[in-house]
Symmetry: C2
Subunit: 366 residues, 2 copies
Amino acid sequence: MMEHPENSSEYAGLQVNAGVIPMGTRNPYLRRGRFAQRHLTASEYVEGILKGNTSVLGQAVTLVESTHPAHQQMAQEVIEKCLPYSGNSIRVGISGVPGAGKSTSIDEFGLHVLREYGGKLAVLAIDPSSERTKGSILGDKTRMEKLSVHPDSFIRPSPSAGSLGGVARKTRETIILCEAAGYDKIFVETVGVGQSETACHSMVDFFLLIQLAGTGDELQGIKRGIMEMADGIVINKCDGNNVDKCRLAATQFCNALHLFPMPESGWTPQVLCYSGFYGTGIKEIWDMVYAYVAHAKANGYFEHRRNEQAKFWMYESINEQLRNSFYQNPTIETLLQAQEQDVLQGKKTSFVAAKQLLDQYFRLLK
Amino acid sequence: MMEHPENSSEYAGLQVNAGVIPMGTRNPYLRRGRFAQRHLTASEYVEGILKGNTSVLGQAVTLVESTHPAHQQMAQEVIEKCLPYSGNSIRVGISGVPGAGKSTSIDEFGLHVLREYGGKLAVLAIDPSSERTKGSILGDKTRMEKLSVHPDSFIRPSPSAGSLGGVARKTRETIILCEAAGYDKIFVETVGVGQSETACHSMVDFFLLIQLAGTGDELQGIKRGIMEMADGIVINKCDGNNVDKCRLAATQFCNALHLFPMPESGWTPQVLCYSGFYGTGIKEIWDMVYAYVAHAKANGYFEHRRNEQAKFWMYESINEQLRNSFYQNPTIETLLQAQEQDVLQGKKTSFVAAKQLLDQYFRLLK
């Protein structure tokens, strides 16, 4: 059997090391030189974002991703000011295991929606593993050769912030900034291997799952939970000798989906075949997404889902800030290390260590 | 094919509605009447527990499980005083999907270890679903007919406290109390279907997974993550016509285990067949568990694992208490409901709602 062209080394050689932020018009915000972004005020960030300046937007996202307390405070100010201008977009989550051809697909998907529906597209990512593996999705060299040089696209790799919760929050905040900057289509890419799907699902209007035909029953078993979240399943690499196998897989996925209870949205998830490499079947996929959006807006589910997501994020936000207030307290940081060592060496129980740390923390807050 | 006797309705009819707490000697702590437990002081609880009084122990566990703030404070005091007397036990996690025959197995396992090794056995459970389904494991009517009337056993159903974290913490605290009461063998039962295994694994020395032969590939696929945690896999219902099928399954599990990396303990998980209903193959299982304990104590892993678990629980304890301090604050409770409604109705963003609540909370702490 021939190797699929997308996986061949020849194809890899064709990739372009394009910059992540497309260069458009000259950027007045860079006039102060290389470190200009450090001196922008919150209002200047907001002004630049609302004007759709991609360079300022990129700097604001860097601010959101920073772990420096001063940057975080500034970021929150910028987000708050951008909030009234956010929300007017279609947010689509795109998931699939490594090798499913997510990058090539997103490249084609993006070109299609920009061509057919106009507007601007931001492509973001959630990949909590990016810090450890450095093999981040949408990483150092973007693999979306066409989109990355498109004037109406903004591509941003996954924030690498350790915990999934932190990474997901930063991606969600980046959505706000992008929407305020006029991006009315948001793609959120995520790896199809774990809990990051749930995080992605909690911030998008439509969750699209990219599958391959014939990847073995075991893998499909693991992915059942992810399948249940999908609003649409699309089978990639439906080309050449692979077409029959893909159509068979589509039937199987359809049958599997019928075993799940009817989704709350009243929308029956559809299964479609396409080829990201040859760019075929792309239109049908986006006809489906836009049909879903029309359906969900008509029956009120679109707004309901966003409000439920907002509620979820209110609790996430509270819990994260409660933890940060504790773990980022300099006194607690020092004490914590000592207590952890005592616990690890069996000198103290976990209960006593936790109690002493919390007592100290609440004394410090007074 | 004959229905397995354990699943037949005839067998169900044989079950005895035995009390959860075995009745031993007369209990002096009950002399104050029906509500005596409400009037015990922390010291009286500790005294009763250290004397091995099962009635007081049961009341103390009820205190641990209570959501009433006054009870919780008293419970923490009792736990702290019991801590110096805890830790001297072997803690075994026992997991398996519904229908694997956990109850019958634990009945046989318990009788075996009490007969062969003496001492006292406490059987606890982690089942976060118990509140919703009311079909709690070790629930209302214990299904361990022999153990439940054994003078040296203490059986306690899963606390039903909503979140997995809360349920798991309460089970862990109950372990402390049981150990202080002289129980030197602790079984922690859990349902083999989700994250409760991870919680169970975080508090036991040996994690035993009960499997059945021929339950389908899909199920096994989902359970891969659980298999990786197992220190031993035992295949139940190895009796009658089922023996060959079980031995084949054992070989398959053995092969699957070889694909996992060598565990940190330096112990190769073993796979054994048995019949809980006929009580065959039980000895070999407990020879294995005690061989593991000897191995892990010799190479220092036993203590290392307990210390790592203590560290994990220190962080769990901190995070839970941080959340409780916020969510159980009466002012916050009231404000939270209003904010949640505002967010759900789209009147306010999640960011703003979270910020207002946190600002209010930190003002209240001052």
